[in-house]
């Protein structure tokens, strides 16, 4: 027993990763394999998978396990053998804890793939070794590039079906390099795997002696999470969620005399770090002041960093409400009412210049108009082709006019402060995921 208590006591870090790639490339099977081989599948779950696999005659007489059933949890998914929506699974190794988002490959469900990838520290893009890079592979790679997912792994899957051929692997590596260079992605790791048989997933394969790189799990254990990479160089940003001013409504456990006049700004630090005594500025309003206290649920601390949820106390009282952004002094961008943006269109209804929308960023939602559609990404050349209309699954370049100026960071400088949603004002649907960026910098081509 002492061994277990030890591992439990360890401070573990978290890595969020998602799968991507074309339909049937083996994403769910790979996820099942990863869970299975890292002993994260419990007995009753495995029994259920074995029962259903047998009923469906998976693996013929031998009676193999269809590991995709571990994540394809909806009735419709099991019936059709495809993934429709993201499944989240949780597992850990002795090194780390993981949140895994198994995404659908089908074009129709690309919106769900974007959902899974948006919060990912790493994305594993699968390619069927027999088919190589497909249009959907390029679409998913474009999404990954657009979202600036910091770690990209490509798994060349079903390597068992091409006799573990080094040549096939090398050809795909060459094809990929053209695309990822065109997208200015660096550090793409390419691993030959068989999700079905487990090669190079958790166990190193004896059938790929020509491959000396890491296994999938080894990579996942080592890759840095977004906050580890970005906390160093991104300026402090704190979108105010709520003002906590309890007055009469104090919690029964706190001392009424001490906290009657409490005023704290509640929020989650979206980037950087902050110390008591630091100078800050606030938009809108351009107020400048100092931080006099940082409270985390009743505990006062001297120092906090992303992604902690805290209450900030400021030296002076200003008219600061939900939607305001507190930043390190002289780092907040000027508030603007016209932004350049790259958007990923998720709704079946198309859009044109003139469309009235809501734009949600940080904790603020403002009215906007798509003032110009510049063009949309051609998935063969990756270039932006001129277009008037944006259709579902398009990656498009647009200009958006905002009713109220916003202190928008460039997404390339600050992920959480440069991202936004486009919302349909009448029915509230999420139409698109957007990033504010200088469009010159995302002119890709191959």
């Amino acid at each position: 027993m002492p061994e277990i208590t030890q591992t439990l006591a360890q401070a573990r870090t978290l890595l969020r990763f998602a799968t991507a790639g074309s339909v049937d490339d083996g994403k769910s099977t790979l996820v099942g394999r990863l869970l299975h081989d890292s002993k994260a599948v419990l007995v009753d779950q495995l029994e259920a998978v074995a029962r259903t696999s047998a009923e469906r005659g998976f693996g013929g007489e031998a009676g193999g396990l269809d590991l995709a059933l571990l994540t394809d949890g909806l009735r419709a998914e099991r019936e059709q053998g495809i993934t429709i929506d993201v499944a989240y699974r949780y597992f850990s190794t002795s090194e780390r804890s993981f949140i895994l988002a198994d995404c659908p490959g089908h074009v129709q469900y690309t919106r769900n793939m974007v959902t899974g990838a948006a919060t990912a520290d790493a994305v594993v893009v699968l390619i069927d070794a027999r088919k190589g890079v497909l249009e959907q592979t390029r679409r998913h790679l474009s999404v990954v590039a657009l979202l600036r997912v910091p770690n990209v792994i490509v798994a060349v899957n079903k390597i068992d079906l091409v006799d573990f051929s080094e040549q096939v692997y090398n050809d795909i590596v060459t094809d990929l390099a053209k695309i990822t260079n065109g997208m200015r992605m660096d550090d793409v790791h390419v691993i030959p795997v068989s999700a079905l048989e487990g090669d190079n997933v958790v166990e190193r394969s004896t059938k790929t002696p020509w491959y000396s790189g890491p296994t999938l799990i080894e990579l996942l254990e080592q890759l840095p999470a977004i906050d580890e990479i970005e906390n160093n160089h991104e300026a402090f940003r704190f979108p105010v969620q709520l003002v906590i001013r309890p007055q009469g409504g104090l919690a029964p456990s706190v001392d009424a005399d001490e906290f009657r006049d409490y005023r704290g700004y509640a929020g989650q630090i979206s980037s950087g770090e902050i110390r008591v005594g630091d100078s800050v500025e606030i938009a809108p309003g351009n107020f400048k002041t100092k931080v006099v206290g940082i409270d985390i649920a009743g505990k006062s601390v001297e120092h906090a960093f992303a992604p902690q949820s805290v209450n900030l106390r400021l030296a002076e009282e200003f008219d600061v409400a939900r939607g305001a952004v507190i930043g390190a002094t002289n780092t907040l961008p000027e508030s603007v009412n016209l932004i350049e943006a790259e958007v990923f269109w998720l709704d079946p209804r198309s859009a044109e210049a003139g469309a009235r929308v809501l734009v949600k960023t940080g904790t603020s939602t403002v009215q906007g108009i798509i003032s110009q559609v510049i063009g949309r990404r051609n998935l063969d050349t990756l270039a932006i082709d001129p277009a008037e209309k944006i259709e579902v699954n398009d990656i498009a370049h647009v200009l958006i006019k905002l009713a109220t100026p916003q202190p928008f960071d460039d997404y390339r400088d600050n992920r959480r402060a440069g991202a936004f949603l486009i919302i349909q004002p009448q029915d509230g649907a999420t139409l698109a995921a957007g990033i504010h960026t200088n469009l010159e910098l995302v002119n890709f081509s191959i």
Binding site: T71, D85, S97, A266, G267
Partner: protein
């Protein structure tokens, strides 16, 4: 990887806590009348604890709602009332027994009342004009729950449409909805059972006593230990024995099984959960054993 990595790293529990607090605050900021489903079970207790942290030093700014099946363990009802009192909250109760007494709902042949909760729940949401309902569901509990968004839209009939969920991007939650619709909010979506227990240990959170090993009169049914009680009588062939047991989930006496366990303290439980080879629902819930898609079907109808 040439970039220099930050020393500022949160451990797993702090990361999860921070994410949950952010979600709870977003819902309170963007909705008019949120309510928290509170059963006295460990997950809803943790959500309530997170809410006290999110609004400190203010009090939790929403009421709690309990769907009382009439089959609850008395210790849990006692715990529920004491917790609500301690935090100065308002408790709304939706009573399944009332619906049965009025003839609106009929007792099921198998005697379980879990599936009967949906109608009283939806009526209570409408009556309270609640536009957001916090739940303690976790994605690791079940494969249908593994598909759920953190902020999940429900139509006028309380239905979940798993094939047509709203995309959910970054930490930007879109809770816009039409009149009559509401959202379910799941702040601890990303926590596992083990995370919950490690957090309970770290924070010293009080739970109903039946989560810890105690002697109880039980009998075997469907491979589970059932407590002897007014709504869970053994048949003449079922042998009643006294065993050292605890509960991994707390639902109705009529469908929740106990597990044999010597774990009397929080840290005993943490060790036991870490070593467990069964999921909590597989081990203890008769209602989820009905079919592979039992949870999906109930959720589509508006269950939590």
């Amino acid at each position: 990887m040439s970039q220099k990595l930050s020393e500022n790293r949160l451990d797993l529990l702090d990361t999860l806590e921070s994410e949950s607090i952010h979600i709870i605050r977003e819902v309170v900021a963007e909705f008019e009348r949120p309510v928290l489903l509170f059963s006295g079970g460990k997950d809803s207790v943790v959500v309530l604890h997170l809410a006290t942290k999110a609004f400190w030093p203010g009090k939790v700014p929403f009421p709690v709602l309990h769907v009382d099946t009439g089959h609850n363990f008395p210790e849990v009802i006692e715990f529920r009332d004491r917790t609500v009192e301690k935090l100065g909250l308002r408790l709304e109760v939706a009573s399944v027994q009332d619906y049965i007494d009025r003839g609106v709902l009929q007792e099921r042949p198998d005697g379980t009342r879990n599936p009967l909760q949906t109608l009283p729940l939806l009526d209570a949401i409408t009556a309270g004009k609640h536009d957001a309902v916090f739940g303690g569901a976790r994605r690791d509990e079940d494969k249908a729950r593994a598909k759920e968004r953190i902020i999940s839209l429900r139509d006028e009939f309380g239905q979940w449409d798993p094939r047509n969920q709203r995309p959910e991007l970054w930490n930007l939650y879109n809770g816009r909805h039409l009149p009559g619709q509401h959202v379910r909010a799941f702040p601890i979506s990303n926590w596992t059972e083990l995370d919950i227990w490690r957090y309970i240990e770290r924070e010293g959170i009080e739970l109903p006593p039946l989560y810890y090993a105690h002697e109880r009169e039980v009998y075997q049914r469907d491979g589970m230990w059932r407590a002897v009680g007014p709504v869970s009588e053994p048949t003449p062939d079922e042998v009643v024995e006294t065993r050292l047991v605890r509960y991994r989930t707390v639902g109705d006496m009529s469908c929740t099984g106990a597990v044999e366990s010597p774990a009397r303290t929080i840290s005993d439980v943490v060790i036991e959960v870490a070593a467990s080879t069964l999921t909590e629902r597989g081990a203890t819930r008769a209602d989820d054993r009905i079919s592979e898609a039992a949870m999906e079907d109930r959720k589509k109808e508006g269950y939590f």
